[in-house]
Symmetry: C2
Subunit: 486 residues, 2 copies
């Protein structure tokens, strides 16, 4: 079905009107921002409630558009509402506001200071670009939207063309919840279509943008964001290779288990996860060819999310197969058949394409000859959302060398596990150096994702009755604050 025929693209006037309303909501956002924290948290919980109440309908719609299956999609609605509720907790916790109060001092050492009170406030209207592969959790009411609303920012979402009706229905429900909660008109809107997406990021009223998708699409929007007369932050989560490093001792201890786990992680969601392990380093002579071949061949081909993604997988695998020294495990035929390419670490070092994301059910197995080559490889992999190490207690020296390298190359380092599966919890970091993201100091998952949409403001010598209540000495809301350096 051609989804684009069902829902029309937003016109320039539509985009204009959403942004105008968002800006008006921001002026009123003084309201939203000044809302008692409990009320803002309540808005997020209301959105979660209305989505939960429509889980079956939403999952059904999304299955028609994405073929991801109703089990997975039902679970994803739950993950999405979990995220909204977690962000509601984050608001009430109040730590996100990073409140710091320094009382005036006539002289501190040689330094006098006025009364200074700092807190984080909303950055203004935020554009959110939804992802193809998570029609709920990284889409209309997904993590970026939850974080921006929690921060007190109006949101204009650009729907992904892979699931326009799901997006529209979700947006209708979110808007209903906003209305019911008494949030200003313009707090939330949805636009559809490629051109609307370009207009959105260049609209002068939009103050930040968040994106989950391909490196090419993300880079194009990033370039627009930073080329504005007034550049805005663009938080893009793009492609990631998510390398896995396996020591010889780990192969000896549990080779078959590693082979099975790897294939399961590669093919989860048909390989269409940003955390798919795209590169597995195994010691030469690992003896796991049969186990890998059996495992990958046993995974049936499944439809891909969109024709564009399917085309991208075909051309990506063609590029990889064209590189000389590559063996194929699994069915090399069929456009979406899962497969593994076996090569050497030396070839990966030589052919950068082998260490670039190929979105879909394939991965590259790279054989290394000695530990130093594995450490070198860890020092050369592109920036990733995640990296994993499979090792045994005796590998300590090797593991420490890998950890030292990976710490500056991946946002998350996993021990004896796999990169897929991103828990939505306080300590999660879902980010990493380019090309994993356009902004390595931030996460797009978890409570700390809210920081992307907040700017500090410091009040100097402002009388107590004019200060936001959270900055008053009495601390009426009872938030955690740093006072006079403590």
């Amino acid at each position: 079905m051609d989804n684009s025929a069902v829902i029309a693209d937003s016109s320039p006037a539509d985009v204009e009107s959403c942004c105008r309303a968002a800006a008006a909501a921001t002026a009123e956002l003084a309201d939203l921002a000044a809302w008692p924290l409990k009320r803002r948290a309540g808005l997020l919980r209301s959105i979660a409630e209305v989505l939960d109440a429509h889980t079956a309908e939403l999952a059904g719609l999304a299955d028609e558009e994405t073929s991801l299956g109703s089990g997975r999609l039902t679970g994803e609605v739950g993950r999405t509402t979990w995220q909204l509720r977690l962000l509601a907790d984050v608001i009430e916790d109040g730590g996100f506001a990073e409140i710091i109060i320094d009382h005036a001092l006539a002289a501190e050492g040689a330094r006098a200071r006025p009364d200074l009170r700092r807190m984080l406030v909303p950055i203004g209207p935020v554009a959110v670009y939804a992802a193809a592969n998570f029609p709920f959790a990284f889409s209309v009411a997904g993590g970026d939207t939850a974080a921006a609303l929690a921060a007190g920012c109006p949101v204009v979402v650009k729907a992904h063309p892979g699931h326009p009706r799901t997006s529209q229905r979700t947006a209708d429900l979110v808007q209903q919840a906003c209305r019911d909660a008494g949030a200003p008109v313009g707090t939330f809107a949805l636009v559809q279509g490629f051109e609307a997406g370009r207009r959105l990021v260049t609209d002068p009223r939009i103050r930040a943008a968040a994106f989950t998708g391909s490196q090419r699409g993300g880079r194009a929007l990033f370039n627009l964001a930073v080329s504005r007369p007034d550049p805005i932050p663009f938080y893009g989560e793009l492609g990631s290779i998510n390398p896995v490093f396996v020591t010889a001792a780990a192969v000896t201890a549990r080779g078959p288990e590693i082979a099975a786990g790897f294939v399961a992680s590669v093919t989860l969601g048909n390989g269409q996860f940003c955390t798919k392990p795209g590169l597995l380093f195994l010691p030469a002579g690992h003896g796991l060819d049969d186990a890998l071949a059996t495992a990958i061949s046993s995974v049936p081909p499944a439809p891909m999310l969109t024709p564009e993604i399917s085309d991208g997988f075909s051309s990506g695998t063609r590029d990889i197969a064209a590189i000389g020294a590559v063996r194929v495990l699994g069915a090399a035929e069929g456009p979406a058949a899962p497969r593994l390419y076996v090569t050497t670490a030396a070839d990966v070092a030589q052919h950068s394409r082998l260490a670039e994301e190929c979105f879909g059910p394939s991965s590259v197995v790279a054989e290394y000859r000695y530990d130093e080559e594995l450490v070198e490889a860890a020092g050369a992999v592109p920036g990733s959302l995640a990296a994993a190490i499979h090792a045994e207690p005796d590998d300590e020296k090797l593991v420490r060398a890998l950890l030292a390298s990976l710490q500056s190359r991946a946002g998350r380092i996993i021990w004896n596990g796999w990169p897929t599966g991103v828990a939505v919890t306080w300590a999660m970091h879902h980010g990493g150096p380019w090309p994993a993201t356009t902004a390595s100091i931030h996460t797009s998952v978890g409570p700390t994702a809210i920081r992307r949409f907040l700017v500090p403001v410091t009040f100097q010598d402002v009388p107590a009755d004019l200060l936001p209540d959270v900055l008053q000495d009495a601390n009426p809301v009872g938030l955690r604050r740093r006072v006079d350096g403590k």
Copy 2:
């Protein structure tokens, strides 16, 4: 004196070698980062000590190059070493690492989770572009350098051409302190020259850049940073108009005091501060013309920092004077003579040049007719580092409207005071929306400036003995941490 003749520009090979050494220090930076926090703090304190010990020599050198006067410059060395020591305290405090620990849960609601431990780690080598107007506090060993070193990042400073010998001498002292503290070679370096500055921000080993200077220069470097194959964060502090809003009641209560305070703030440091108030809104019929004219005429012209800044001031004031409805108070002649331009709020709304920074001892006085016009003006001023309100208790309604607008337009809001004077303390925020900075969510002054140079990393299921000690359950360093959401 032509300073550029004294110190040669760095060659491409020099830049290359500094960046290579910085990258090597980063690999070793594992070392610097893993240093016990007390040792890293010790490095900053050693730098402060060696600079303090050479205060007279440094201030003398800088006075030869900048004519800022030895009193001001001696004080500025003190401010610089204060900053270094404050950042040393910040390291030991440990809160900067934003440590979050979530223990594994079999199922939390519907959500199982692995063991996840997040902390912030150094982003890698940082390029720092020194400012003309603060040869110490925003230069070689200034706030950006202190924050980057505190974060555990090697630093390559690009000297400002206005004070090359001061920069070189400061760099020599910093390097000496680094050596004495046993920091890796490459922890700190200095380069000189325009071309070296361009090379630096595009060097693949540089992971972030910080800049204090003009909008034109900052934008050019920002464009280079974001056009890299792997874009890096560029933290530029550029031009700022720092508007001041005065109510009619405030004029009645203390008009002459406001006139005198304004002129003092405008001409402090010969108007060469990024926080100079460039726009003063006064109610029409304020009757302060004489007070303003007398005050501004009593400030003698002083030499400007560099010929380029002097030229910029001449052309900026020429542009402003060329706008029709502008009266001049003070000496309109002499290239650097302090002056005020009086116009109307309506003209400011119409001619954007009147609301753009003109670096030097001039400012624009804009007369408004009624309170609504003042509120409108507050909603239209460009992003600024600071804004000030002068008002009386009866102005509450007007003040609340101004505060609501200014909160999203200025990084700091001052009550009955002036924007100049930036206390280096925990609650300070020195930032703001474009064009005040290229990155409104960050500050370049104070402890929270360290966040610009840190990236999160999360360890998943990593055994305790392989974790950084600060992430271990035992919390051997005793840092503040968020554990299981609390």
